[in-house]
Symmetry: C2
Subunit: 259 residues, 2 copies
């Protein structure tokens, strides 16, 4: 069954990204208050203010939809539609002045991510797609590229530390690609959707990290799953692999599994 | 003795960055021809065209100055003034569509880097400084920040692979900082100069990678040396450590040396 995503929901997704991006831009490269959360990740005033703004917009437009945000948790989890929000993905990059962080807006229908937005506020670049709409970057359609062999591939990953016990599996892929490129957070998935890179592999992510990425990559012609090749849902285990070329995706899954 | 850098040389440094940036922008995120050089690093049409444009400008203005460029080698090495050029630092990032690559222009006088420009073409961000001129970002003065302790520091490095045998030494620092952030190439040194981050540590660099960085970091109040704490010259060994706070720089040198 196709998700009954309406034009009003798609318009809201854009509006949420715009609202959060304006707040992120206001705080970017200024001294912001940084707290350390229970999981030792940094959270800033900008994160909180951006999520509050998005939540208020959703409550006003679709008061029966669920919301799941990184900073303020979940409401109406049982709703058919749930908005999964990361106000600032890549907070470390944000705090270091590096413009590869992003605002993530994912719309989930019956546990499936169906529409997504990745917004880079400083660059004013926005990928959006899903629910029958091909992915666009600032309104222009984008498409993943084919990659005939792993030895030709450009691979993005955010940091070696995030892999933990999964590092040997990741290394089996990294050691075989042409160019490993580090440190891109959600922005890497936009670059894969645009056909500038071939692979993005991450581990240790949370649902608000990937729910927006899935529709953006898929609606650009790519494949994005967990490391077992299963579809990503809000309950997945935090290991994500995206490929522009489905053949390459299969090859990478085999390498990740071959422990 | 103070280097006799003239206003015309400083104007030329800007002009070189502008010329190379325009070429980089033209090719960024388009399919470009990629060759692999002897050292397996990628080189694109954009690199070569940008360096040619910079060389022509130098030959026209200062025909007695030396030039040392990444793509086309050295001329007039014995000159007092030598322009050290990297048309696209971070070629892998450039080819992957990631806007953290940069144009590097370094002016070296009697083997000392005395003026530098770091330009990010896609973001149109340009750091410039040295020879008695405080570092600016797009014309606005910038300043490194103090960092009271390594445990508070944000650290940039481009990739774990580049460290090779130096990885254990680097890890002694990385494991003690608050936020390690990966994948920034020359842009990291601009962020340190601006006081958005505290440390940038690299290895395996070439002279055209660091000659531009040295004056930009120093004229913003920071310290940048090799891993032994020695001043960087075109003959240094490719291991670079920059800190916004000189006390932090000393602490990092001790950790890097303590093998």
């Amino acid at each position: 069954m196709t998700a009954p995503v309406t034009a009003a929901m798609i318009a809201l997704a854009d509006e949420l990204a715009e609202a959060a991006a304006a707040i992120a831009r206001r705080y970017f490269r200024t001294p912001v208050t940084v707290d350390t959360k229970a999981d030792a990740s940094p959270v800033s005033i900008a994160d909180r203010e951006a999520e509050r703004a998005m939540r208020a917009l959703i409550e006003a437009r679709f008061p029966d939809h669920g919301i799941w945000g990184e900073e303020f948790g979940r409401v109406r989890e049982g709703a058919d539609f749930v908005w999964v929000l990361d106000p600032i993905d890549g907070t470390k990059a944000f705090l270091a002045g590096k413009p590869t962080f992003g605002v993530l807006v994912g719309l989930v229908w019956r546990n499936r991510p169906v529409y997504g937005v990745i917004e880079q506020p400083h660059l004013r670049e926005r990928w959006a797609g899903g629910a029958g709409h091909a992915t666009t970057l600032n309104g222009q359609p984008v498409r993943t590229r084919l990659c005939p062999a792993l030895a030709q591939a450009t691979l993005f990953a955010t940091s070696p530390e995030m892999f933990g016990a999964n590092l040997p599996a990741f290394e089996r892929v990294r050691s075989r690609v042409r160019y490993p490129v580090w440190g891109c957070d959600c922005y890497a998935f936009g670059l894969v959707a645009s056909g500038f890179a071939d692979l993005a592999i991450e581990a240790g992510l949370s649902a608000y990290d990937w729910c927006a990425l899935v529709p953006v990559v898929e609606a650009a012609g790519g494949v994005i799953t967990d490391w077992q090749g299963q579809p990503l849902t809000p309950d997945s285990d935090g290991r994500v692999v995206a490929a522009g070329d489905s053949h390459l995706h299969g090859e990478v899954l085999r390498l990740l599994a071959d422990g």
